[in-house]
Amino acid sequence: MAYRIVGSQCTSCSACEAECPNQAISERGGTFVIEPAKCTECIGHFDTPQCVAVCPVDDTCVIDRNYPRHQAP
């Protein structure tokens, strides 16, 4: 699984972009999006997914079940 951003809730504050250890987040068309291939759910970096912890809007950075769970290397 990777994380994804619920576009309709994103305030485009960019806070998550700077916190992501994998540079998986960028702005696209006014809101921010996560590139699933780059997202490691922060495993190996931090205890909690950084985008979830910093986002000012609850339930905006959520698990994307379309992707298999990340395996720590």
Binding site: C13, S14, Q50, V54
Partner: protein, 521 residues
């Protein structure tokens, strides 16, 4: 000295004692740029002789730091910092930071390069623009790369512009050295509490060391970081103002303690602002029905803290992309599209010449006030009243009642005219004063005033104001505010003395709660 003076009851001694007191008061109130004698006080802002020379040099042209300068100089904010590292209960992050700005406002976000171009465009168009601030829309220090890049670009292309920034303080200790390196001379920290138990009611969480921390623990870290940041800045000689949001029932009484804590750490100005919490802003406080203070509650708290240190009362809680004199907003003239299309010719010389002209006008105003104040010498009365003034700046009564977006409030007593605040009415006057509701709203906003000074006013609103007990005064059109207010007050005292009018206390007034959504008329 106590400028209200204790009135001698002994008849023969009274004249002499009052004369001496009034002379000192006159000097004391002589605010601004005249050199030498007397202790200056600008009502809410600090005056020339209250401060060490090098600090006065820094603040004298800063509209946010000197009440006196805010009539003459303009500031602008650039919205380059959208991210934030804490959550406040009075903020909804769809909008600008409510610490520093009006809630419910959305600013146009810029890159550092766009911001630098905009500053040059504005400074070339508005020569009295002397200050650039970064105040959001989030926290400038949660966006350090963008914030400092902007400062770097501006200090290269417009070296005469002062830089300032506003922060919630969480990241401040990490950036103090960079702030010093970029020659930022003013920093504003929003400090709403020094007690973590109270903080937990204001801040649900902070993002700290890669973790979200909640409750009392979060507030404890925040207050430690804020106070340490404040100490580090003042140690390096960087001026620090503290903003506090007054939240009735949560931190209102506690702010007296905050005032002491920040004063002892070297903050040179404290700005207590009212909580603005309309439900439609979608903030936690707004949705919970947490109310903001009334005008009288706010003034009482500001008065209580004033014994301790300089209070700022002219803060307009500006947008993160505000442009212009305080109380005016010209940001619509400088949208990104317009700015990028502008040919900018930055002329240091002509800006300087313009500012010199502003300076002499300002001195004329100070002299006029001093002269008029002398006529009050020998008067003694316990009467203290508030009056509202419609002004476009330059310290003059030069705005039409129906066009005023805000009124400035002065307190009049035998010690003179003192600026004590302002009341916004802009949200309501969009339809002009043709409709009844608009006028009613203005009356509510200045209901604690005995008179309103205007450049012009129509017959209808004038008589409605009179019915509400507020005298509309237009005979001082285009004259200096303080001088006129003192002259009017002297006449008022005469009338009370002769029995022509009976002095009556006024009621409380409302602080506008709505958001500023439309930027231009």
């Amino acid at each position: 000295m106590d400028s209200t003076g204790h009135l001698e009851t002994d008849a023969s001694g009274a004249g002499v004692a009052m004369d001496a007191i009034m002379r000192q008061v006159a000097e004391h109130k002589g605010c601004g740029t005249h050199g030498g004698a007397g202790k200056a006080s600008c009502g809410s802002g600090a005056g020339e002789n209250d401060l060490p020379a090098e600090i006065w040099e820094k603040v004298k042209n800063h509209p946010c730091y000197s009440e006196e300068a805010h009539h003459h100089y303009a500031r602008m904010h650039v919205a380059v910092a959208p991210a934030c590292n804490i959550q406040c209960n009075y903020c909804n992050r769809k909008y600008d930071c409510a610490n520093e700005s009006r809630p419910g406002v959305v600013s146009e976000k810029l890159t550092p390069e766009q911001a630098a171009k905009k500053v040059l465009a504005v400074a070339s168009t508005i020569p009295q623009m002397t200050v650039l601030g970064i105040a959001g829309p989030g926290d400038p220090l949660a966006n350090p790369a963008k914030t400092f890049k902007t400062f770097e670009l501006i200090s290269k292309s417009a070296p005469d512009i002062k830089l300032c920034l506003s922060t919630n303080g969480l990241a401040l200790p990490d950036h103090v050295d960079t702030i010093a390196r970029y020659n930022v001379d003013h920093v504003t920290i929003t400090i709403n509490m020094v007690d973590p138990e109270i903080g937990a009611k204001i801040y649900p969480w902070i993002f700290w060391n890669h973790k979200r921390i909640e409750g009392v623990e979060a507030a404890r870290i925040l207050t430690e970081r804020q106070l340490r940041g404040l100490e580090m800045l003042t140690e390096r000689g960087i001026l620090c103002k503290v903003n506090s949001v007054m939240i009735p029932g949560v931190n209102d009484k506690h702010l007296v303690e905050v005032n002491r804590a920040v004063k002892s750490r070297g903050a040179f100005l404290h700005n207590i602002m009212p909580l603005i919490s309309a439900p439609e802003h979608g903030t936690v406080f707004g949705l919970n029905g947490q109310r903001g203070p009334t005008a009288r509650e706010l003034k009482a708290l500001q008065d209580e803290c004033e014994g301790e240190m300089n209070m700022m009362r002219h803060c307009r809680q500006c947008r993160a992309d505000a442009v212009g004199l305080l109380g005016e907003d010209r940001s619509e003239e400088f949208t990104t599209d317009k700015v990028m299309a502008m040919e900018v010719n930055y002329d240091l010389e002509s800006r300087k010449a313009y500012q010199d002209a502003v300076e002499s006008g300002r001195q004329a105003k100070v002299a006029a006030k001093r002269e008029e104040l002398e006529t009050l010498a020998g008067e003694s009365s316990d009467i203290r009243i508030l009056v509202a003034v419609a002004t476009k700046g330059s310290g003059l009564i030069n705005e039409h009642f129906g066009h005023a977006k805000e009124f400035q409030i002065y307190e009049l007593s035998t010690s003179g005219a003192k600026f004590v605040g302002h009341r916004r009415v802009d949200l309501y006057c969009q339809g002009g004063f043709g409709d009844e509701d608009a006028l009613e709203t203005v009356i509510r906003a200045i209901n604690d005033c005995h008179a309103v000074f205007v450049a012009r006013i129509g017959g209808c609103p004038k008589s409605d104001l009179a019915k509400a007990g507020i005298a509309a005064v237009d005979e001082f059109a285009h004259e200096f505010i303080e001088k006129s207010a003192i002259a009017w007050f002297r006449a008022y005292l005469e009338k009370v003395k002769s029995g022509e009018v009976a002095h009556q206390a006024r009621g409380d007034a409302a602080i506008r709660q709505g958001a500023l959504l439309a930027t231009a008329e």
